[in-house]
Symmetry: C2
Subunit: 330 residues, 2 copies
């Protein structure tokens, strides 16, 4: 049994070529929920959904979010209605008193759906409606995710990191804002001064996650701040990682990042935006997989390969390197 | 100035041919909200929306609800997901504690969106998302409706009857259920034993509605129980109607109803399902428009015409009859 920690696109790209190395039926994926938001009344869980759609074989592999060939009729009409009524596009963060009203799981990240600042496809939207409705019927996010995994025919076990609310908040010179407001709403600007995980002190991992973390753990090339950070901010997850073999794949080649906002976010929280900084962020890691061109000196075992992840062949190669690294530390 | 009371499809069909008789800019429409439900987290207001779409020139004139040529990708995927996960189709009324959680306006009529028992088109859905989001931003239903009316370019003034929650509950041998569960979910079965308007004792009409009811009032051929009943259940509306000239168009020819569940509902609340029963439901009416073939004796002035409403020409003819009736009583 092996457990992947997933957030953003890095770990999903690794999972896309994992099947022949790590049997899906013996693999769990724990997904970050700090990036989740409630948008127009529906809980949107981007990191859970990328795995859901990947393993359900419907993922849009151009963007690594959303459903391939999805339409966006509702999204377009939301924009049209807002334009026609002279409403500002947003992101429109709901008033403070609304942030703690309604569903607990959506605290501190509730946005109006007016003009919908994130692009939600029509079939994609059905996932958010179903998820939110099952939560309103009384299910936990873990239970609801299991139902959605059934609907998409997943072989891997997909688990949200927690059933409690945790919100990734980016502190900037313009004030704090939710990660999605900063990343999707403002294209990763303004500058990052700090990152906080609101709710993480009171939140705990689920029993299912803690059980999954008894197995060996793989951290894919996700960004350590907002993709992995919310998980690491939960004391029980951080402790579990210290007690089990962990192999991490660097999202950098030395100080060059493959994609996404990892470098800005790492600099913002005082980590060097490099493989060395990633190693500092993961003090519990027992081995690393680095790119052939990455000669960062680390004080744990390193397996090197070409860590490019452009397709399933790439991903299988990197999974083999992960397997080798695990064999050295398990 | 003239004010129409609208619910279901009867009054909208009349409005469809009203423009040359009653100037849209000098016309207000007060819409029933007892039929509204929260579905999958969004407030759906069928009677407001039929007028919104009619006057916005996008109404599906086959069904008299929804937007013409709308797609339904999300709706189809909701059904697929529920089927694939083995979830029951519903209607899935949320647990009792959820009925009074969240937005006040949605009390006692909150349904899960799993498998979505009402057909919601993709562009239609954008209206519900925008409405719900504007409510969450702090707007009243009256304010939010004005914004949507702006977006659809309405010339008439469209007003919800109240900014308070009122839920039309059908009592049956199988227990009480919301009107939409009975009508859409169970095709107007089982038998109607009574109809109640939950919340109506605490609810009041808005100031905008009371101002509109200072003008002469037209009640189209809507069903008096669930289309008009919620309005009449509000003391301040009922009193306003007693104090202003009111002309009503019967939805019956003697005891034959044109369409919809009016007859079953009237019988269920002890009214004769006929024009005579309608007159009993509207004791404040100062005149009636009846079909040429309807010889029901009434003790107020009657104007007769062909009350068929198949197209705009029909509707204009009936509006002329309404105008004549108003001239006799105003």
């Amino acid at each position: 049994m092996v457990t992947f920690l997933a957030g953003g696109t890095g770990t999903p790209k690794l999972l896309a070529g994992a099947d022949d190395v790590f049997s899906p039926a013996a693999t769990a994926v724990v997904a970050n929920t700090g990036d989740d938001i409630e948008l127009g009344g529906h809980l949107v869980c981007p990191d859970l959904d990328t795995v859901l759609f990947l393993d359900g074989d419907v993922l849009d592999r151009e963007t690594w979010w959303g459903i391939a060939d999805d339409t966006a009729e509702t999204h377009a009409e939301l924009t049209r209605l807002a334009d026609a009524a002279g409403l500002d596009g947003g992101p429109r963060y709901l008033p403070e008193d609304a942030q703690t009203a309604g569903r607990d799981i959506a605290r501190w990240r509730r946005f109006s759906g007016v003009a919908e600042f994130m692009h939600i496809g029509d079939r994609d939207r059905a996932v958010h409606v179903t998820r939110t409705s099952l939560l309103d019927e009384g299910g936990s996010l873990t239970e609801v995710t299991r139902t959605l995994a059934d609907a998409f025919g997943l072989d891997r076990t997909l688990l949200p990191m927690s059933d409690d609310p945790v919100a990734s908040i980016i502190h900037t010179p313009s004030g704090p804002m939710h990660f999605q407001e900063w990343w999707v709403g403002h294209n990763g600007e303004p500058a990052v001064e700090d990152v906080a995980f609101r709710g993480s002190e009171a939140a705990s991992a689920t029993d299912a996650v803690l059980t999954a973390l008894d197995d060996t753990v793989v951290i894919g090339p996700s960004n350590p701040v907002t993709s992995l950070g919310p998980m690491l901010a939960l004391d029980d997850i951080e402790q579990a990682l210290r007690e089990t073999p962990v192999v991490a794949v660097s999202p950098f080649i030395e100080d060059t990042v493959f994609s996404g906002p990892a470098a800005d976010l790492m600099a913002g929280v005082g980590l060097e935006p490099s493989t060395a900084g990633v190693a500092e962020a993961y003090p519990f890691a027992d081995a690393f997989v680095l790119d052939d061109d990455d000669s960062t000196p680390l004080d744990v075992p390193v397996v090197r390969t070409d860590t490019t992840l452009d397709d399933a062949t790439d991903a299988e190669r990197v999974n083999r390197a992960v397997e080798t690294a695990l064999s050295e530390v398990a």
